[in-house]
Every structure is written in structure tokens, then in C-alpha cells.
């Protein structure tokens, strides 16, 4: 089996994978980073979103080998020194999560959204999060969280 190497949450990692192994499987099964979730099999739900070289991608739709040499950040890599990322904090402050299953992907997408749209309005947030499905919150509080985080991340 081929070997894949990448940086995940700041640490160099490598492992043997099948050609067909998806990035999300490598993260969950090889690295035991189970914060990244699988909610569908058609690249619709976004529970598996991570950052690859700074862009949010659906890790169920990328082969592990395609991420060879990449810099990957997962939900486990956001908090620094026990302090949550402003987006994580904003989700907590605004009750932007309920069951927590879509949350890691939603947070990763939202961080990328704000990075690319530093002052998003509600319509932009709703449109940009179209690739992340949440069944619990009705998105109302997620939108509020992203609006808050956009302020704190910009400030």
C-alpha cells in the first residue's frame, strides 16, 4: 500500500493507505481524529469539512493520497492552549449547535467563509453555508454565531 504524508493540526503524520482511502477515513481511522464526521455519501452534508492548505474542503470527496504533502486542519486543531477559536466560541455563545454532529464541518466552513468574506451579511452567510446541512438548529443561531465571529475575528 502506498504511504501518504501530510501535516495535520501542525504535526507531521504519515500512514499506509489504499488508493481508494478517502481523506476523511485517513483522519478518522488512521489518526483517530474522530471530530470530523461522515453524514452522507454524496458530498452534500458537509459534516466532513476540514481545511486543506487553508481552503475548506469536504474530506469525503478527496482521496487521502491527494492530500499528500498538504497542510490539514481539523476541528481538533482549532483551539489553542485551551482557548477556543472565536468561531467555536461564537457557536457556544449563540447556541449554534444542538446534537453536535454537523458542528465540526459547520465551524470549519464558517471559518473559511469569514476568511474570504470578512464582513458577511446574513444573506451571504446563508448562501455560503449551503453545503452544510444541519437538522437541529434551523440555522438561525448558526447565522448569529457567524455574524458574531466575523466581528471578533476581524477585530
Amino acid at each position: 500500500m502506498p504511504t501518504v504524508s501530510m501535516t495535520v493540526n501542525g504535526q507531521a503524520v504519515s500512514g499506509e493507505v489504499e488508493d481508494r482511502t478517502l481523506l476523511v477515513q485517513f483522519l478518522r481511522e488512521n489518526l483517530n481524529l474522530t471530530g470530523t464526521h461522515v453524514g452522507c455519501d454524496t458530498s452534500q452534508c458537509g459534516a466532513c469539512v476540514v481545511h486543506v492548505d487553508g481552503d475548506s474542503i469536504k474530506s469525503c470527496t478527496m482521496l487521502a493520497l491527494q492530500a499528500n504533502g498538504a497542510d490539514v486542519t481539523t476541528i481538533e486543531g482549532l483551539a489553542k492552549g485551551g482557548v477556543m477559536h472565536p468561531m467555536q466560541q461564537a457557536f457556544m455563545d449563540n447556541h449554534g449547535l444542538q446534537c453536535g454532529f454537523c458542528t465540526p464541518g459547520m465551524v470549519m466552513s464558517a471559518i473559511d467563509l469569514v476568511a474570504k468574506n470578512p464582513n458577511p451579511d446574513e444573506a451571504t452567510i446563508r448562501s455560503e453555508l449551503e453545503g452544510n446541512i444541519c437538522r437541529c438548529t434551523g440555522y438561525h443561531n448558526i447565522v448569529k454565531a457567524v455574524l458574531q465571529a466575523a466581528k471578533t475575528m476581524g477585530g
Binding site: 470530523t36 452534500q44 449547535l97 437538522r135 434551523g138 448558526i142
Partner: protein
């Protein structure tokens, strides 16, 4: 006033782990030596199985074992059970066809599992399953709710002639028919309550593990009610005796009903783990979830209202079919009957109601409780019928509702359909909703929209539901096979921290926070010193789980009752230590005090004394650890008024919800932030049903057409508005905490509000859900 008690919008204790990737969901669990199970499912809607050849699969690389239904039967494993025995016409109880864990002779829906392959890896299990050769003899199928009991329809089960599982009626038919014959005006509507796939974001999963040293099975699974899962698998399926069987529902990624039921796959993981003496893991992919999770709704209904000349409701008559799918799941026929028929009075004084409900079998996945479970179907048909009645009478929809409301002073109110409402002020919630929605200003907004070429409409829904399930004797007399009390254990640790064990289960509802607030309120212990534990049959006492918005109205009361036992015992200990009479001890905000003095002892000191009883009252047991079971006196009756305002582009069918106003009566709010979140989620479910979601099977082939998120439209962020949520509380006389359930309300209230707004915009009588862009466009074109 206790800090962080009842009424505080405390941030959730569970959020840290969910936000940092430290949640522990079933698929995150891996056990040493674990194998992987893959289900071989029927590709046909209806077929006889002539033969299954497993030989190639059994010798495939990595395959550990292959089992079919006969293997489980030979091992004494019983079939899946239906827990409902509802009595229909002629005193006939529902006919429950048997269902084996793996189907043996005849498959009855696409996705019906017939074999399991267990291998060293999931890929090997899938590869092995491809080598199983099944000789099917295809049979004609029926998927249509309305056609299932028609002459000549393909028959699913010999036990259910004409595919009818239950023919049920409620009410006095003769009185209703007489009222219709004498009525000044009548109104009627034919409608479909569209089938939904429940789709919690976490697919179902299970990991079974066997300890041969102790002969114990542990099953981790996605469950809303782990004790009930254990009970069913033990009592009816013979997987293991309860005391040798641990069921753990760890973090669960949403349930919405679909994770109440005992399914084939989880029973297989538990059984096979012992059979092969290795852990067995199964995780559904989303496609499997679409095929095999229990679905919801799926009624085809005719509803009629008889009125006097002033629009006062005299009688209502409903004739309906409910699709049960290919097998009766756990609640099945109880949903379209007890949880639907008993709500048909709604908020109105309609004196005579008759419902005829046929529950039919079809070649589709089983249908059972899904967020709201019967009550959304009742609210939808009733609130649509009320709007059609208003149209017939030429009355404003708000006015016809007011003319027929049960008035606050009539509470408690006995409806003609069994339920007795114990609280509510429907005029108050409607008035507030209309004010918040600026109902009076709608005409100007409609005119302004018309100037932009848009059709603007407004719709109301005045819903009621019955939740907080449920008084055990009442549901038992109706044919529900279990008691629906709830339990709690409140345990002081010697150092003053409190561990609370609840028999409910949280899969997004925030119990770890809200239930801790109850304890903080009652016992005065800081909320950070209270830990709520649920979801493990080895940790907590038996409990019935979470569904039917029961956790707080039933489980929450059990917690405070256990707290009260702690206080009662604490008073004896404090009285002894403070050298006072027990009757002179007051307890408030965490301190036991001798009345009228400054002599006091904190509850933490009392707890320490209970565990180190050197100076201790005679006849009192050491320890401070109390259990309470609470059986509710009545259902809980949340109600409210919702107003939806839409804008439609008649040229494209594009629809936008421009304003959504909810005013709900949930009684006392323990954590308003969490309650509001529950409302939002319910609304998304309800609006999704109204606009986007519809589970479709092909009429000819019986194939599931909407089998993925590409084909079945879940509401995305850009499909929904922000919501205006407010409250008009009344206090229920039967609930000691004054609380009502809130988790299902939005899903019940929203569909009629949305459709009423759409038909108002288009100037038509009715449009079936889901009101997709194409359907709206066609209706707009037809309406001119």
C-alpha cells in the same frame, strides 16, 4: 434567587466537547479485534427468495462469517416487535405480521435486509456481499397509500387481508353525519401529508461486543432510549438477559424519532459479536439510512367541516389512510390513531368529531414516529380545513378561529376526542402572534409587493399538541405496551458534587445543562458541580428515553422529586447536627437553617456528614443518594399561534418566507436559550416538509427515487428565514414544574402556516406539500 437556576439562558455544558471534536458518537467507538458488518439488502420492492448461495462470499478474502435469517432463527433469536395493540372497528386489534431480523422467504421493500457479511474490513465485507447469489422471483408491488387497500392490489402479508393492518374509527359517526345534514354551510379539503425521511445528521450505527469471561454483551448504538432497546432485545428477541446485557447510547447525533425503534442491524451486531466472539461494528451510510430508517407521516386524507351560519364549527368528519410500510415498527399504528385522532379538536370547541383511519401495508420502508408523530398530521389537516372553512364563509382566518376557540376560562376542557386539555389561552397567543407579525399591516405589504410583480400571502396556524408522554395507565388502556413514567437518581458525592442519572436521553436537547439547572434551583448547588449522566444501562436506573417531548415534563419532574427526597433526608441530618427539631429546619438556596436563628449547615456539609456519619441521627441510613420515579397525571398540551408570510414570483415559482412569527405556550421555561433553539429546529423541520421534503417511491417498480440528499431536499441555510419567536405561557395544572414540551411544536405548527400563506398568495383553495418551486409555478400560472 439561585444563580443559574430555572429561567437562566445558561450556555450549554455539553458544547465544549462538541465544538472541539471530542464528542463520542457510536461510529467513533472502535474495539480491539473489531470486525465490520455489511447488510445485503433487497434490490426489489417485492419478491420471493427462491435461493441464496453464500458459498463464494464465505470464502472471500477477509470474510469472517456470513449469516442469513435461518441462522438467527436456529439460535432462538426472535423477530422485531410492534409494541402497539390498538383496537379498531368491530373490536379487532391491529394485525401484526411477523418480521424476522433477516428476511427469509419474501422481501417486501427495497432495502429489506436478507444477509449480513462480517469481515476484517468494511471494504472486504462489501466485496463479500457482492458474491452472494440470490435467486429472486419478482412480484408486483404497491407503494401508494391510497391504492394499497384497493381490490386487486398486490398483497404483502397473509395476516393483513387487503393490506389493512388496522381499520380504526373514533367518535360518533351518526351524530356527526346528522350535524352535517343539518349544517348551514360545509367545507372540505382533500390533502396529502407527504412522507418524510427523518434524517438525523448522524446515520444509525452499532458496535456489539461480547465478554466470554462474564457472558455479557455490550452494545453501543445510536438510540434515543437505550433501556427500551435492551428490554426489547432481551424480552422479545432473546439476544441476552437484561442483567447480562449493557446498552450504551453515547453522544447521539439527532434522533427525531427514528432512533427510538429496535432495528435489524443493531440486533445483529449484538448477536453476532457473541456468535463469532469478536466485536462487530455496523454504520449506515446515508443511502442505507434512506432505505432502512423508519420514515414518517404519509397520510392521504379527506377532511370536512360542518358550520352554522356564523361559521361556528358543528362537526368535523375525517377519512384517512396512513401508510405503515412493509412491516409494523414499534409504535406504528398507534401514531395515526392515538397520537393523531386525539388531537383533532385542536384549539376549537367542535362538539362532534368522527375519524375513520385505515393503516395500510405497502412495499416501502416501515413508517413510524417522526418529530411530532401524528400531531403534525392532525394540525395540518385541521388548520388547512379551518382556512378552507374561512374561505367558504368569507371570514378572515383569524376571525373564524376566534369564533371557535376554547376560551381560557373553559380550562380544563374535555374534548370529544379523549384528551382533556389542562391549560391554555388560545386568544392570547393568537393576539400576540398577530401583533408581532403586524397582521393589520399585511394589506399594505401585499399591495407594495404587487407593485414589484410579486404575490404576497399570509397564513396562520393555531396548533395544539399532546406530549410529555405519558400517563402509564391511560396509554396502557389504549394499547401501548409499556409504562411511560420516567426515573431519576440524584447522588451526592461525599465532597459535595452531585451526579444525576436520568432515564431520558439527550441527542441535541441540552439535558446536561437544563437538568443541571433544575438541581441547582432545587438544591442550591452551583451548576458546575452538577453532572447529568444518561445513555448507559449499566450506569443509571431503568428509564424510558426521549421522544414525544417528554424529557422535561416527565423526566425533569422525576429529578426534582429525587431532589426533594434529598432535602427531606438532609433535614433529619441537619436537625441532629444543629440540635433542633426536624420541623424547625428550613431549606433554602443550599442551606439547612434552624428557623429564626443563624444556625446553619450547607448541603455539602450535610452530604459529607451522611458519608462520614460519626455524629448522626439514629435510625437514618448513611449516604445521600435518592431515586424517584414519576408517572405523569396527564399529557402536556403545548399550543400556540404561528404566522407565516411569503412572497412568490409568479413567473418563476420562486418562494421566499419573508417573515415567520411564532408565539408558543410552553409554560415555564427552564433554559429559554435552549427552548428557542428547539423551536427553530422544529420550524426548520416543518418548513422543510411544507416546501422541500418529500419521500417518493416509484409506483411501478417500488424503487426509492429520493434515496440521497441529492434527490431528497433537506432545508439548507438559504432556504430558511430567521424566526421571530415569542411566548404566551399558561401554567399546566397537572405538571409540578409548570412545564410543557417544546421539541416538536415547530414541526407541528409550521406546515399549515406555510401552506395557508402560499394559497393565500396564489388565491387558490389548496396546494399539496411539498410546495416546490415547480408546483408553485404551475399553481401561479393556473391561477393567472
Amino acid at each position: 434567587m439561585v444563580e443559574n437556576g430555572i429561567g437562566a439562558s445558561l450556555r450549554r455544558k455539553e458544547d465544549n466537547r462538541f465544538l472541539t471534536g471530542k464528542g463520542n458518537y457510536t461510529d467513533d467507538i472502535n474495539r480491539p479485534g473489531q470486525t465490520y458488518a455489511y447488510m445485503l439488502r433487497s434490490p426489489h420492492a417485492h419478491a420471493n427468495i427462491n435461493s441464496i448461495d453464500l458459498s463464494a462470499a464465505k470464502s472471500a478474502p477477509g470474510v469472517v462469517a456470513v449469516f442469513v435469517g435461518q441462522d438467527l432463527v436456529a439460535d432462538g433469536v426472535g423477530g422485531l416487535v410492534c409494541g402497539a395493540s390498538v383496537t379498531g372497528k368491530g373490536g379487532e386489534v391491529n394485525k401484526t405480521p411477523p418480521r424476522n431480523v433477516l428476511t427469509m422467504d419474501k422481501v417486501r421493500f427495497v432495502g429489506d435486509p436478507i444477509a449480513v457479511v462480517i469481515a476484517e474490513s468494511l471494504a472486504q465485507a462489501k466485496d463479500g456481499a457482492e458474491l452472494i447469489a440470490v435467486d429472486y422471483e419478482e412480484l408486483p408491488s404497491v407503494v401508494s397509500t391510497a391504492a394499497a387497500d384497493k381490490p386487486g392490489a398486490p398483497q404483502l402479508h397473509v395476516e393483513c387481508p387487503n393490506n389493512v393492518a388496522l381499520d380504526w374509527e373514533l367518535g360518533d359517526k351518526a351524530a356527526v353525519d346528522a350535524a352535517f345534514a343539518a349544517a348551514a354551510r360545509t367545507a372540505s379539503v382533500d390533502l396529502i401529508n407527504n412522507r418524510m425521511v427523518t434524517n438525523p445528521m448522524e446515520p444509525r450505527a452499532a458496535v456489539g461486543e461480547y465478554n466470554s469471561g462474564t457472558d455479557e454483551i455490550t452494545l453501543y448504538l445510536t438510540s434515543q432510549n437505550p433501556h427500551v432497546h435492551r428490554l426489547v432485545m432481551s424480552a422479545f428477541m432473546n439476544i441476552a438477559p437484561e442483567h447480562k446485557f449493557r446498552v450504551v447510547a453515547p453522544d447521539v447525533g439527532g434522533g427525531f424519532g427514528s432512533k427510538i425503534f429496535t432495528y435489524n442491524e443493531e440486533a445483529i451486531c449484538a448477536w453476532a459479536a457473541k456468535k463469532i466472539n469478536r466485536p462487530v461494528k455496523w454504520t449506515a451510510d446515508r443511502s442505507e439510512a434512506f432505505l432502512s430508517d423508519a420514515h414518517g407521516r404519509d397520510h392521504v386524507t379527506k377532511a370536512e367541516m360542518a358550520m352554522d351560519a356564523d361559521g361556528k364549527f358543528l362537526a368535523m368528519r375525517v377519512s384517512s389512510h396512513a401508510n405503515m410500510g412493509a412491516y409494523l415498527q414499534l409504535f406504528s399504528v398507534s401514531i395515526p390513531t392515538l397520537f393523531h385522532g386525539f388531537l383533532l379538536a385542536g384549539q376549537y370547541t367542535t362538539p362532534a368529531i368522527y375519524l375513520e383511519m385505515r393503516s395500510v401495508m405497502t412495499n416501502t420502508a416501515p413508517v413510524d414516529a417522526a418529530r411530532g408523530a401524528g400531531r403534525p398530521e392532525a394540525a395540518y389537516l385541521l388548520e388547512r380545513l379551518v382556512d378552507v372553512s374561512a374561505l367558504e364563509m368569507g371570514l378572515d382566518p383569524a376571525e373564524i378561529r376566534r369564533r371557535n376557540f376554547i376560551k381560557a376560562e373553559q380550562m380544563p376542557y374535555q374534548t370529544p376526542v379523549v384528551q382533556c386539555y389542562d391549560s391554555g389561552d388560545y386568544d392570547a397567543s393568537l393576539d400576540k402572534a398577530l401583533a408581532n407579525a403586524d397582521y393589520d399591516g399585511f394589506g399594505a405589504r401585499r399591495t407594495e409587493a404587487k407593485g414589484r410583480g410579486k404575490l404576497r400571502g399570509i397564513g396562520l396556524s393555531a396548533y395544539i399538541e399532546a406530549c410529555g408522554v405519558a400517563p402509564s395507565a391511560a396509554v396502557g388502556s389504549l394499547g401501548v405496551g409499556v409504562g411511560l413514567w420516567e426515573s431519576a437518581q440524584v447522588r451526592f458525592n461525599p465532597t459535595g458534587g452531585v451526579t444525576v442519572f436520568t432515564g431520558t436521553h439527550s441527542h441535541g436537547q441540552g439535558h446536561e445543562t437544563a437538568f443541571a439547572q433544575l438541581v441547582t434551583e432545587r438544591l442550591g448547588v452551583p451548576v458546575e458541580n452538577v453532572e447529568v449522566v444518561h445513555g448507559d444501562t449499566d450506569k443509571g436506573q431503568f428509564g424510558m428515553g426521549t421522544y414525544g417531548s417528554r424529557s422535561l415534563p416527565v423526566g425533569g419532574v422525576a429529578i426534582v422529586n429525587a431532589c426533594d427526597k434529598i432535602i427531606a433526608k438532609g433535614k433529619k441530618i441537619a436537625a441532629h447536627c444543629l440540635e433542633a427539631a426536624e420541623d424547625d429546619i428550613d431549606f433554602a438556596e443550599g442551606n439547612f437553617t434552624v428557623a429564626g436563628t443563624d444556625k446553619t449547615m450547607s448541603i455539602a456539609e450535610v452530604a459529607f456528614t451522611a458519608y462520614v456519619p460519626h455524629n448522626y441521627p439514629a435510625g437514618v441510613e448513611p449516604g445521600l443518594d435518592e431515586i424517584a420515579f414519576f408517572d405523569p397525571l396527564n399529557f402536556s398540551f403545548p399550543a400556540g399561534a404561528h404566522v407565516c408570510e411569503v412572497e412568490i414570483d409568479p413567473d418563476t415559482g420562486t418562494l421566499e418566507i419573508v417573515r415567520y412569527t411564532a408565539v408558543d405556550d410552553f409554560g415555564v421555561l427552564v433554559n429559554p436559550m435552549i427552548v428557542e433553539g428547539q423551536v427553530h429546529g422544529g420550524l426548520a423541520h416543518g418548513i422543510g416538509q411544507a416546501l422541500l421534503e418529500g419521500c417518493v417511491y416509484d409506483d411501478d417498480s417500488g424503487q426509492l427515487i429520493t434515496g440521497s440528499f441529492q434527490d431528497y431536499c433537506m432545508a439548507r441555510a438559504d432556504n430558511l428565514p430567521s424566526f421571530d419567536v415569542d411566548y404566551a405561557p399558561t401554567i399546566p395544572i397537572h405538571n409540578p414544574l409548570g412545564v410543557k414540551g417544546c421539541g416538536e411544536a415547530g414541526a407541528i405548527a409550521a406546515p399549515p402556516a406555510v401552506i395557508n400563506a402560499i394559497v393565500n398568495a396564489l388565491g387558490i383553495k389548496h396546494l399539496d406539500m411539498p410546495a416546490t418551486q415547480e408546483k408553485v409555478w404551475r399553481a401561479a400560472q393556473a391561477a393567472g
